[in-house]
């Protein structure tokens, strides 16, 4: 009993930790102004980001401490009334949500590490003046967005989930606006549209079964007619689609491209994790049934369109920022294709397992590409492909990281993404859907061509490399870490495979 209480406390703390540290990061400049000179404060500009990075390490460690219970199939639960008779604040730490929370904290650490490195290079790298508090506000808003994403991922009540998703988008809007006013308004639009679609689905479910708890989802099958079930699933799918940047909802990414490359990094990573994990939590098992051909067809069409449109646009991209943005769009295609494929009556578990692995591996690859774009743009002043060349001599690390991230997304062995593609394509062939498998393989080949094309243009061309600012050891360390993690999971996928097997057996195998 004592163990359960301790785990419950950890679960609640996982939700609260980012907000607590966000408050500390936001207050940091106001406190330091009382004790330090201007020069000292300028020298400590990286402190809020390092505080955030430390909080992420703490959060990731606490998440891992809950794993034994979750992997044994007994989720950690916390249940509080938010209001007396309307909403429950139910938190549920199962294998799927803990994988996503681990991804939010782990990748959040790498984002903050990157921002520490940028601050070390100088204020010009982050669009921040020497005396304003934008850096601290930025760290606080990224943490707040992380906290909201974690609340959404752990939430077992759909209304709380909608609230958290919308709030995460509002925090990301603030993150963009605090750096460049009037930018990022699309996040507000997205918050409202996604929120209302999800809310529509949740309220329809409430009308049918009288509860908005995720545990009540199976009751839908018993108490509703197929058309309502189809409507609920399509509303939830469309509500979550913009989060994973799937076509045609990728507009927010392109709106951020004129800004510094470090700005879209946090939104792209956090939203990919949140969107993918929530899709897996809400759609399979109950709503993604063989009896819902409309949903499966819609999922497949959107998935293939996202995959091919993203891959084609990445192939013709003229700067690294656009390349990263279109790869972010392409990755959503894999998740949607896996969801659609899982609706087949004979679909092997491998297909859903591939989608679960994407919760960690897709944002990891996406973050690597964005980090390389930001690294190159910060050191050379531009990431436009016609203007940069021969950089393998000046920044070989960036070249290696670009290959690792891009080729992992395309499923090239021995990188981490290979295991996702192996499971997905193997599952499609095992389910006698070879045509779909071939289409995915062709998209993979296009992605490989796009990655190699960008690598050749930026790193291998014979022209002299552009002048580059000195590298920050923090930035280099972050790229090394990203590359190592991708390679390590590639050659030693055992723990992640075990984790996703448990996800398939527990969180995704909901039956009425």
């Amino acid at each position: 009993m004592a163990t359960i209480q301790q785990n419950t406390l950890i679960l609640v703390w996982l939700c609260l930790l980012p907000f607590f540290v966000a408050g500390c990061a936001a207050l940091f400049p106001r406190l330091s102004i009382r004790f330090h000179s201007d020069a000292e404060r300028a020298a400590m500009a990286w402190a809020p980001f390092s505080l955030a990075a430390l909080a992420c390490i703490m959060g990731a460690s606490l998440t891992v401490s809950l794993l034994p219970a979750a992997l044994a199939g007994s989720p950690v639960v916390a249940d509080y009334w938010w209001t007396q008779d309307l909403y429950h604040f139910r938190l549920q730490g199962d294998a799927l949500s803990l994988l996503a929370v681990f991804a939010v904290y782990g990748l959040g650490f790498l984002i903050h590490l990157h921002l520490v490195g940028l601050r070390e290079i100088g204020p010009a790298a982050t669009d921040v003046g020497p005396k304003d508090h934008t850096g601290a506000h930025r760290a606080a808003l990224i943490l707040a967005a992380q906290g909201c994403a974690i609340a959404a991922l752990l939430s077992a009540d759909l209304i709380v989930l909608v609230f958290s998703v919308q709030l995460a988008l509002i925090c990301l809007w603030g993150l963009v606006s605090v750096t460049v006013p009037q930018r990022g308004l699309r996040f507000l639009l997205m918050a409202q549209v996604c929120g209302l679609l999800l809310l529509g689905g949740a309220l329809l479910m409430w009308r049918q079964v009288g509860d908005t708890s995720v545990q009540a989802l199976p009751l839908l099958l018993l108490s509703t007619n197929p058309s309502v079930l189809r409507l609920v699933s399509v509303l939830i799918l469309l509500g979550l689609l913009p989060l994973i940047s799937g076509a045609p909802a990728y507009g927010w990414l392109s709106s951020l491209l004129p800004l510094k490359r470090s700005i879209p990094m946090a939104p792209a990573t956090l939203l990919v994790i949140m969107g993918t994990a929530l899709m897996l939590r809400l759609l399979p098992g109950v709503l993604l049934l063989p009896g819902l051909p409309t949903f499966a067809a819609l999922c497949l069409i959107l998935g293939l369109f996202s995959l091919w449109w993203g891959a084609l646009r990445a192939w013709i991209a003229t700067d690294m920022g656009a390349f990263a943005a279109w790869l972010t769009v392409a990755q959503s295609g894999y998740v949607l294709v896996a969801l659609a494929a899982a609706s087949s009556p004979n679909a092997p578990p491998a297909v859903m397992q591939a989608a679960a692995m994407q919760v960690l591996l897709a944002p990891l690859a996406v973050l690597t590409i964005w980090s390389v774009a930001s690294y190159v743009a910060t050191r050379t002043g531009s990431d436009a492909l016609p203007g940069i060349s021969g950089m393998i001599k000046t920044m070989p690390l960036a070249g290696v990281a670009l290959l690792a991230g891009g080729l992992s997304l395309a499923g090239v062995p021995p990188l981490a993404g290979f295991h996702v593609q192996r499971l997905l394509i193997g599952g499609l062939f095992a389910d006698a859907r070879p045509a779909l498998g071939v289409v995915v393989i062709l998209a993979d080949l296009l992605l490989v061509a796009a990655v190699l094309g960008v690598f050749r243009q930026a790193f291998l061309r014979g022209e002299p490399p552009p002048p580059a600012a000195p590298a920050s050891s923090w930035l280099s360390g972050q790229l090394v870490l990203l590359t190592l993690v991708i390679a390590l999971i590639g050659v030693w996928p055992g723990p992640l495979m075990h984790w996703t097997e448990v996800i398939f057996r527990t969180a995704l195998s909901v039956t009425p």
Binding site: W82, T83, Q84, L86, I159, F163, Q166, L167, I170, P181, Q182, L185, L188, L189, A191, Q192, V193, G195, L196, L199, G200, L203, L204, W206, R207
Partner: protein
């Protein structure tokens, strides 16, 4: 189609609410509406209250009255904040004024029902009450209006910043912003207040 028999006053109320909602939203969405779009959206929020009342008239056990009271509370807080911040003139080259800009954003968020504001809970209660009396179409219309309302909000937030808030006005604005956000994060006091209004109305 509602499973309950609908009386004439209910038909009048729900029709009035629906028509007012559509007209106000269309007027707010006009390209020429400019700053007037906020005024039209406030009228649309009144229409939400009427729909809540209609739901309560249709079925006394529904949450309609409480939803209407919550909606009125959110609207009242937003209106007071708006009156404090309403600029007598806008200066295109004026420096960005943090508090006044924040107040304007919070007003829009609560009117649209976006977290972390009390308006979110008011809207959710209203949609639930409409669904509970079987008015699915009206709930869909109300949701669609909330989605459409974000377009004038995007234009309004992009307008030149309002004049700076100073002194007592700034202090009151800070309190109101905090109240809207705190009631958004922990809505129980607002829900209890709305419940009291509901009980008073029922006992009357």
């Amino acid at each position: 189609m509602s499973p309950f028999a609908t009386s004439a006053p209910v038909i009048v109320a729900v029709t009035m609410g629906g028509v007012l909602l559509v007209i106000a939203t269309v007027m707010a969405l006009r390209p020429k509406a400019g700053t007037g779009s906020l005024g039209w959206f406030i009228i649309a929020t009144f229409a939400y209250c009427i729909l809540g009342l209609a739901a309560a008239m249709q079925l006394r056990e529904s949450d309609g009255l409480r939803a209407a009271a919550m909606q009125l509370l959110a609207l009242a807080l937003a209106l007071i904040l708006l009156l404090l911040c309403q600029p007598r003139q806008t200066l295109r080259d004026a420096p960005r004024q943090g508090l006044a800009s924040t107040a304007r954003i919070v007003v829009w968020l609560t009117l649209l029902g976006i977290p972390p504001t009390v308006g979110f809970h008011a809207k959710v209660m209203l949609y639930r009450s409409l669904l509970s009396v079987g008015w699915g179409g009206m709930a869909a219309l109300a949701i669609a209006v909330a989605a459409a309302g974000v377009l004038p909000a995007l234009s309004a937030i992009g307008l030149p910043p309002p004049l700076p808030l100073k002194g007592a006005r700034a202090a009151v604005a800070v309190v109101l912003i905090a109240l809207i956000v705190i009631l958004g994060l922990y809505p129980q006091p607002a829900i209890s207040l709305a419940g009291m209004v509901q009980n008073l109305a029922k006992s009357g």
